[in-house]
Symmetry: C2
């Protein structure tokens, strides 16, 4: 299409994977009344109850305001609740509710199948190498994002 820009490039294909994956997830999560972004948060809270909102934001790689939005929505749906930390009152910790505990295993199952779908056409070796290389790509991007946001290089 344009000799100057490689047609198969990492940002283009990762964006397409992300968008196509979100469409598939939305369909699979429809009956649970959970969006793709909420699923990420619910999955992490299910695996790591009592983590702080800030750790959750870091873990799912979104900003503070996005994580607040997601948690507020999951709270409204009755899946999670927020509790102030006893020692540091600035910190909010996130837990599953009873209803969240019912839904979390289904979300985990959907997520596991979603991971398998991504690696279904790959050998184990390809899947592992690729995940490792992508981790390096992500580390580089996070460094650049922090450089922009905080003017630091680390």
């Amino acid at each position: 299409m344009d000799a100057n820009i490689p047609d198969a490039n990492i940002p283009r294909v990762t964006a397409a994977i992300y968008r196509t994956g979100q469409t598939i997830l939305a369909e699979r999560l429809k009956h649970l009344d959970v969006s793709g972004g909420e699923m990420d948060a619910l999955y992490v809270v299910g695996a790591w109850e009592g983590l702080s909102q800030l750790d959750l934001a870091r873990y799912i790689n979104v900003g503070k305001s996005s994580v607040t939005k997601v948690i507020t929505s999951l709270e409204a749906k009755g899946y999670v609740c927020r509790v102030r930390d006893q020692h540091d009152r600035r910190v909010w910790r996130v837990f599953l509710t009873e209803q969240g505990r019912d839904v979390a295993p289904q979300v985990q199952q959907i997520f596991r199948e979603f991971i398998d779908l991504h690696r279904s056409g790959l050998t184990d070796d390809e899947a592992e190498r690729t995940a490792r290389v992508l981790d390096k790509v992500l580390a580089g991007l996070i460094t650049e994002r922090n450089r922009i946001a905080y003017g630091t290089t680390s």
Copy 2:
């Protein structure tokens, strides 16, 4: 975190790459008044003037309504215009305006640097292998999305 779900998995890391990349792009595109999604469209139209809206949607991997939204916004900003196909009046073709032609090379430059940023920590071999494996992952996801949407397996 959870022994049942691998911590480094392709959907998680591609989503993080996508989101982190969008933050970086937003910053780099700020002075051009172009969003990340608009950049994709503008870049493709710049490289392939006169393509149909439908081909554009396919190329940037979004639905018909999303591509209409993006093109409407780029039209309002004065960067592109839509022309009906002379032979098939159901088809709209997209062209750059004069102003779009000024901006397109800057967008291409930003996109090229963005691609380079993704592969800056990788060897050429790693970058090419990874793009190839990711193309396979994407093909699998598109098959699954089409199966859901149209009930077909191709």
